[in-house]
Amino acid sequence: MADQPLVIGFETSCDETGVGLVRGHTLLADALATSMAEHERFGGVVPEIASRAHLEAMVPTVHRALADAGATVDDVDAIAVTSGPGLTGALLVGVAAAKAYALALGKPLYGVNHLAAHVAVDELQHGPLAEPSIALLVSGGHSSLLLVPDLAQEVQSLGRTVDDAAGEAFDKVARVLGLPFPGGPPIDRAAREGDPRAIGFPRGLTGPRDAPYDFSFSGLKTAVARWVEARQRAGEDVPVADVAASFQEAVADVLTAKAVRACRDHGVDHLVLGGGVAANSRLRALAEERCAAAGIVLRVPSPRLCTDNGAMVAALGSRLVAAGVAPSSPDLGADSSLPIEVIRG
């Protein structure tokens, strides 16, 4: 194992400062610091505060990851960093740190795509990815269906959200229901007590003439808001558990139906889920059920690895090193809207 390179990965695209260490497909350390508490204090995310929090957390998080792995900085063979997509100011902190380490250590630098890293992280748990695979990435900022012929070389976008991301719909519906931010976990919890068939919320872009792999969650969010407002106007109690369960069912239904269809249409029998929304219990259960029925092998990382972390960046970096992909240029920059097709920034 020691003959495989030790790759360190930096993740700072949003609220989490993550540093991971990976050798081959083996996860050695996954240190995380979050600025969520600071943002909660201000009632929302403040980009400048996110950047400053990354700056303060960066070096201590690197030290923690190295200590957890029982390694020193001199053991590192390559440096990987999320160079996009994400918040520009936040990305810049990770990119600057990675460049500094690469320069100081004289080791190659790999700017990597945040979305591809969400796919790569599964290799740390379930071994090499079957290729081609279909990947469904769902988080607060993204909802994408990808065809992955070769994670180190080629990722194709099949579809994406045309308005709101799935996680964003969770956040906004949580606010409508008076649940805390981020909305995913509290809706998941509330839904356990509710009836998913209580309210028939709309399934966006599922008509016969709609784009088969694109998503739309804006109409669903609005439908929930309208339903709740009508109840409130009538002076009735809002059945939070039923609304949460019915909303969650609509999201899980559309996501899994389209993912399974993408597998079938492309003759692919492996599906990978990734991103924070992949931690949702109903999405996981329904994906399990539908994949089993369709003869598709489903791979879902544990919830801890679904959300943003440094391990996923190191995992993709490790993949790129193993595939002999050339490192990034030393003047690597942050690209807030890096296209998914660009695996190495």
Partner: protein
């Protein structure tokens, strides 16, 4: 241009956005006001289409702001929904591009007006029957004239 619009379908909201785009010039600030689901992103998609920007306009809630190029004028699409109450809009680093771009801000009322001398507010609303409405509210003599001229 009429100040009040009834928008029965999302296509109508999109069309209003395209019509607004014809009035827009570099340096303009448009503030969109309205509840969840009133059509703010749909209107911005129309503005983007009218300006001819390349990338699809989707909700920027998560990334706070997104720049769309490739059109007659760059479109800076900002969503202040996730911003904290005390956030200083300077922290968004928007000033850098507001002079050369059209800046459209969702959920930004009371936060961003001082970016420019004048601005246009579009008040969007959603009725119980799901029909949307829009009211254009000019702030500044220049915007008054521009709306009257069309």
């Amino acid at each position: 241009m009429r100040r009040e619009h009834v928008l029965p379908t999302p296509e109508d909201t999109h069309a209003l956005g395209r019509a607004l785009a014809e009035l827009l010039a570099p340096g303009d600030l448009v503030v969109l006001v309205g509840p969840l689901g009133a059509g703010k992103t749909a209107l911005t998609q129309g503005i983007g289409a009218g300006l001819g920007v390349r990338e699809p306009v989707t909700s920027p809630t998560f990334v706070i702001s997104r720049v769309h190029r490739g059109g007659r004028v760059p479109l800076v699409h900002v969503d202040a929904y996730r911003l904290g109450g005390v956030a200083d809009v300077d922290d968004l680093d928007l000033d850098a591009s507001t002079d050369e771009s059209v800046t459209v801000v969702e959920w930004g009322e009371g936060l961003v007006e001082r970016l420019t001398d004048e601005h246009l507010v579009v008040r969007l609303d959603r009725r119980d029957d799901d029909v949307r409405s829009a009211v254009l509210v000019p702030h500044g003599a220049g915007w008054e004239r521009r709306l009257d001229a069309r």
